[in-house]
Symmetry: C2
Subunit: 279 residues, 2 copies
């Protein structure tokens, strides 16, 4: 048992407990196919993989183990969040920067990442034709192509940017995760309430890439613009009903800014683990 | 990482996610001094102690470790639930009955139980004069008196009955925990919803001993009678607003049937671990 794994699991739980988090499962909302209890089981199930990362295991196998446990009940609740948390936990173990940790990933880490897709359905778009052999939806079947090209997990993330803001964190020093943490630390009140506030502000900063992949750039831009208006006028304080209505509308429309939630989970980990903020 | 510890931690989370659970913290309600996020952190914090029990450690030290982690943020969220879960997890490890496991506890287990009170404030009433040296509120200061009398942890539980229905489980083969599990297995829907249904039916069966200690027998009897009326007419299905109103009223009056919630958590563990029900 190590503190970073504890904090990563708790970050997953605090993230989903925050409400309202427009479009996402939160303390007050389920989606049609994804419920609050899937996130609880996902967080507990991810723990052995997080413990691996916290004890110095390579990123890829630790991530695969975390995803396997998270998805033991068949739902993909926290795949993207774990792709941020596993390197952050490993970096906490090493006492190195997360940037260094992800840059040093190997082809073997990339193979484990592909195997993780055998455990769970993840929504991804079609790759360009030249990358079809590396389509993550092929899971472990893509590993020979991966090895032929000698791609590390960092290289795989590199090929997912732009268009995937979880992968972008790997390329950009986890800058939005750290920005989320700074905002979480500066906010007041219980951490789930801070998570809701910071979720809205992060959603206002950049279109959510999961929304863009599923619903197109126009919808993603609309969601970000509306989050911006609400965040700008501090609506969670001044007009909470407006945020609740926005949250209900996004759930009704099936619009799920899951990438932004992943970034908030990473920010919560940094808040707990680096900044020592406690419940 | 062992399945029983995983299931015990998940049981704690599913219990608090159930709503409405009249008088208790639930997915939709916080108390003045105890919030949902305290339960999330309590469940994650208890895990190392649950892991100890799952790997065969003695009950007392495993319980002390679980409580220490649960209460790391200063709140007592799940003390009673852990007093049920730790023996259940240990029994799962041993492949023996929980009845045997608790009967075989030692004076050393009792000493660890007393040390657990050094980590957290637990609401307990005044003991009779002849037991004042053994008042659990003395924490580890009471250990010499305990050792003088050669009391095991089972003996300590024996002296807490009647008046403490968590201790009663130790004496009566965890019969209400198993009854809760049978009802949880027979119910339908997501486990937190089943937990709410079973909570109401358990509250209807017997006055909650935490309510009796804090508010007197008359209030505990009133709460049980009203739960009985609601449970009898299946109000969670037929008139959910009536159960929500009862829940709000109990929270407003500061009436917290925490012992019944502890029994439901134990029942959830049995449901997951013995019956193999999954999310």
């Amino acid at each position: 048992m190590t503190a970073p794994a504890h904090n990563a699991e708790l970050a997953l739980l605090l993230e989903v407990a925050g409400t309202p988090k427009p479009g996402n499962v939160d303390r007050h909302r389920d989606l049609d196919d994804l419920r609050f209890d899937h996130f609880l089981a996902g967080a507990v199930g991810a723990r052995p993989g997080l413990d691996l990362a916290a004890s110095g295991a390579p990123i890829g196998p630790a991530f695969e183990r975390a995803v396997e446990g998270m998805a033991a009940h068949g739902e993909n609740s926290q795949f993207g969040a774990l792709l941020l948390l596993v390197p952050l936990v490993r970096a906490a173990h090493d006492g190195r920067t997360v940037e260094t940790v992800v840059e040093e990933t190997t082809v073997s880490d990339a193979a484990a990442f592909y195997r993780a897709f055998d455990h769970v359905d993840v929504f991804v778009g079609d790759p360009p034709a030249e990358l079809a052999p590396l389509d993550v939806r092929r899971g472990s079947a893509a590993i020979p192509a991966l090895e032929d090209r000698g791609l590390t997990l960092y290289d795989v993330m590199d090929r997912s940017v732009p268009g995937d803001d979880v992968a972008r964190e790997w390329l950009c020093g986890f800058d939005r995760s750290f920005a989320a943490a700074d905002r979480l630390v500066a906010a007041e009140g219980p951490l789930p309430d801070r998570a809701a506030t910071v979720f809205l502000s992060m959603l206002a900063d950049r279109p959510d890439t999961l929304v863009a992949k599923r619903h197109g750039d126009a919808v993603a831009a609309e969601v970000t613009d509306r989050a911006g208006v609400l965040s700008e006028r501090d609506a969670l304080e001044t007009d909470p009903a407006a945020v609740e209505a926005f949250a209900d509308e996004l759930v009704d429309r099936g619009i799920n800014p899951g990438t932004t939630a992943d970034l908030v989970a990473a920010g919560l980990f940094i808040t707990l683990d680096h900044h020592g903020v406690s419940i």
